[in-house]
Amino acid sequence: MSDSTKSVPVVTSGFRPWFRLLAAIARKQFTLLVRYPINTISQLFGLYVFFALIFFGGQAVGGAAFGESLAAIIVGFFLFTMTIVAYSGLAWDVTREAQWGTLEQLFMSPFGFGRVMAAKAAVNVCFSLLWGGVILLSMLVTTGQSLSVNLVTVLPVGVLTIASALGVGFVFAGLALVYKRIENLFQLIQFAFVALIAAPVDAVPALRLLPLAQGSALLREAMTQGTQLWEFQAFEVGMLVLTAVGYLAIGAYVFGRASRRARRLGVLGQY
């Protein structure tokens, strides 16, 4: 090696370095997805089969009554898919990175561990939209159902809804840093997401304060009734933003505290 290997200035502030980090994480995630296509396809297929069982089973049992709620089920499943991808991308990834021995390398980035995890979260949201889109399309083709997919409405409402789940993901990622083997808890939370997505916020308004619940209601209305973003009441959108920002902030705080505690206990890179 010659001069080319000598240390070079490191730039981590400003938009370009931040974008480079995002691009590097996205490239890595994408490479892992396409390098093992069977694994990726089987995950997608598993989600699709799960929906197909609900759809064909529901048709057989519920008949016409099932058809009335089909649109809401599709929207709910679409949101569930995106939520799972975004949430597990954080919570499970921390566990996997610790297993692989790469977690400490992420911590040692001059961008800061928080920013690296934020970049991972942002990439996870993009991937969750991609997976959600594929599943949504499959569901619509299978059922012959049509829904309003106005991106100007669906994208921001979808992203803000997922943001609250990301906050939960950060909390559990933080717990995984300290307590390690909590995969069973991760799975329980995934079931809880089903309940949150189906939460009856009209009947019990307080449920809007829970993650996913408000966003799920708005997304359902937007996709089944064609309501546009600007047609929602300001209070409804405000509540969505509040829960998104609130849960993200709580998640970031807990994650920060947990990573500090993991370093104090000397267990950051352990699994």
Binding site: M1, V11, R20, A24, L32, G112, G266
Partner: protein, 365 residues
Amino acid sequence: MSDTGRPPAISVRNLTKVYGDEADGGVRAVSDLSLDIETGTVVGLLGPNGAGKTTAIKCMLGLVVPTTGEVSIHGIDVHTETRRAYRRVAAMLEGARNVYWRLSVRENLDFFASLGGQERAEARTRQNRLLEQLGLAEKADTPVNDLSRGMKQKASLAATLSRGTDVVFLDEPTLGLDVESSLELRRELRRLAERESMTIVLSSHDMDVVEDVCDRVVIVDDGEIVADDTVENLIDLFRTQSYRLVLGGEVPSNTRETLESTYEAAEWEQLGDDGRIDRTRVTVSVADGDELYDLLGLLRRDGVSLRNIDSVDPDLAEVFLGLTDRSGGPNVRPNQSPASGESTESPESPVAIDASESVSDGGDQ
């Protein structure tokens, strides 16, 4: 501060790490550890399993929060200015585990360079050189998972060096490497230190590697520094203190007792043919030449003939075992002043080894 007025590449002051509450069965993994490492030096950090070196390394890297003490990299406090410090330091921990095995070698290098905040184009030039130097060019597009153990190790090292920092911590860098690769790597580490002023802290159980590569060795035991000096000085401390004697016939019991109590005689071996013992081999330790003459006088007085005498040249492994009290025998011990019995200090660096307890304070330099 160093002679140049610049802060040392790594400065550790009174580093202590206690896991849990000491009064309640907590573990003191690192105890009041202090050292300075100058730019462009390769320092070997040695210690038996459980000695506290991993905790010490992780504290130096900011991955473990110390109970007390400070660590700075080029004057930047690792625990309060973490992000700034990580512009200057990278680490290869846990052998080949710190890369993504599903990504190719080049993809890993790309990723870690970006994680280190480097421009992709600039990083690419460095990566190509690294791949060439470490013999990975042909395997650049192979997933790490498909590489041999040694190649995985090299990929891991390349990923660490791809960050382009001027301080690098390497944990067992030659683990799993074949002899040729290990030698190549040693040359490369020396070159990085000498020509590119890279500061390298190397932890290894391979004493040959440490002896070959390191300018200085810090030996840690029970969380404390027990020796801190150049490899040469450490070996000198143990050199010519031990002799292997071949004595005629069997040694009388009273002579044997004196040899054992005064000269730490050990490794007794009776030699001969056809069941007849005609020689006895034994290893003894003496503090200096005068003591050797005393020993010879004792043998003459007791009528024991001396057939042969060889000095036992220690290597770093013996120094290590001697200092960490894991030699299993008394034949290796550090030099000590015969007059006072006090520790001997190297004129070049402040090693201070207490001969009786094998404990030194490598702190202030």
